[in-house]
Amino acid sequence: MIRFEQVYKRYESQQEALSGLSFELLSGEMAFLTGHSGAGKSTLLKLIALIERSSHGQVIVNNQNLNRLPKWKIPYYRRKIGLVFQEHNLLHDRTVFDNVALPLIIAGENHREIGRRVRAALDKVGLLGKERSLPIALSGGEQQRVGIARAVVNRPPVLLADEPTGNLDPELSREIMHLFEQFNQVGVTVFIASHDQDLINQLPYRHITLQQGRLAENHS
């Protein structure tokens, strides 16, 4: 589902964020991306989400070579990737419902379908009662769930998360991870960047570890 072939990423500052990275994530797999801060985890996820492009080497997602994807097609590509961020990236002047509905509105879904799918996604993350609330009225854990609901609402085959439990206490973090597992069980490829070793060591998934932009470990 996600394949890196000898990928290099060099920023304009000449700093090399990724060098010679190769790995493959199978369809329906769940894996963790680990490493110290600055090891290149965020850069790697940005390459998959096409927020950045590789300087060298191929990134292939869902049989699509991202190097060959023209700029105007990026929005349509991103609709097939669910993104979850540490800072949630919610719109604070809109209700929970409107935040989650955003990807569907963008995709031009009809009104009734939007209502149905937003409620299903909120139900999935346990926030069905909060659809009229503003994000600011929610706790950190709840805000992260809204972010997850938004990421999955248009049923993407791939879900990427960058430090989704970074600001949460251990118990909430476990709940969030459990949510990701549930999406994985219905066939979504899940790739989570996290430096929370205690938490991810408890879970039976592959670790892809980066060290200074190189692949240090790749094991289950």
Partner: protein
């Protein structure tokens, strides 16, 4: 399915259109200030246009009075004068000829001036006989000038005078004013464009976070651009309507004195409002300028805002 998509698409447009109007409504002070600037900028050329068209109407009314007076030599007899008038009547570029003897001229002057006693003391009639000629209508200015020259060359004629030379001057002033207004309209349109562009630029900067998020979840540039274009459209449209209302109020204010003035000059002149045309033209111009201004601002700034 296709029909449903079109339906969704249109529905989405209507939603964005209304929500961008709601956005303006929620910031009444900032919005009304921007609208006022746009309204005034649109009002000025429109108002000047109305004034100019009315001045043209005035000069048009007097066009038929484009008369030539031939003052005859003193020694020409009334009989000879009448013969000349008959002769002139056959010229193809002349429609109306009237002869007024020296005595008639004196009588007329006596009536108008009220200087009877003074005139009675004069030893002889100082006034000449006059032939008044109305040239055929729709003649070019040059043709009338040529006619004037031919008439002046007649041996019986002492002086041939085109009464309405000032009309010609008024026309050229009018033409100058028209060019001036065109330039002014262009410059003010440009300023509307810049005002709207700048307002939209600020709106874009205010919503950077939102734009980034929308792009992250797969929003196209078209999608991001849409609300800003509608905002620009509203600014232009409402500014145009405001300009129209202001124009109407201004015309109401000046129409009273103008009617009075027209009565004093015994003129058929009536102030033309162009209210219908302006109701159409001002909002449309505003709308187009608004969309264009927003488009320029959006295309300049949108690409710079990318998720990072």
């Amino acid at each position: 399915m296709k029909l449903l998509n079109i339906h969704n698409y249109l529905l989405r447009h209507v939603q964005v259109m209304l929500s961008s109007l709601g956005e303006l409504w929620r910031q009444p002070v900032a919005t009304s200030m921007t609208l006022l600037v746009i309204g005034i900028a649109l009002l000025l050329p429109a108002g000047l246009f109305v004034i100019l068209k009315n001045v043209e109407q005035v000069s048009g009314e007097w066009q038929h009075a484009n008369r030539i007076s031939l003052f005859l030599q003193n020694e020409i007899s009334d009989k000879r004068g009448e013969q000349l008038a008959e002769q002139l009547r056959t010229w193809p570029d002349i429609v109306e000829v009237s002869f007024q003897s020296a005595q008639q001229s004196l009588n007329e002057f006596r009536e108008i001036s009220g200087l009877e006693s003074l005139l009675d003391t004069l030893p002889s009639n100082p006034l000449p006989a006059v032939i008044v000629i109305e040239p055929a209508e729709d003649q070019q200015q040059e043709a009338i000038e040529a006619l004037l020259a031919r008439l002046a060359a007649l041996p019986e004629v002492d002086l041939a005078q085109l009464d309405m030379q000032w009309l010609q001057r008024l026309r050229s002033i009018n033409e100058t004013a028209q060019r001036g207004i065109t330039i002014l309209a262009f410059l003010l349109s440009l300023s509307v464009l810049l005002v709207i562009g700048n307002t939209i630029r600020l709106a874009i900067l205010n919503r950077q976070t939102e734009i980034r998020v929308i792009k992250l979840v797969g929003g196209t540039n078209t999608f991001v651009r849409r609300p800003f274009l509608y905002t620009g459209m509203w600014y232009g449209l409402l500014g145009g309507v405001l300009a129209w209302i202001t124009l109407l109020i201004s015309l109401i204010i000046i129409s009273g004195p103008i009617d009075e003035l027209a009565t004093l000059y015994d003129s058929q002149f009536q102030l033309k409002w162009f209210a219908g045309q302006m109701l159409f033209a001002l909002p449309i111009c505003g709308l187009l300028l608004g969309i264009l201004g927003a488009w320029l601002a959006v295309s300049r700034h949108l690409n710079a805002i990318e998720p990072s």
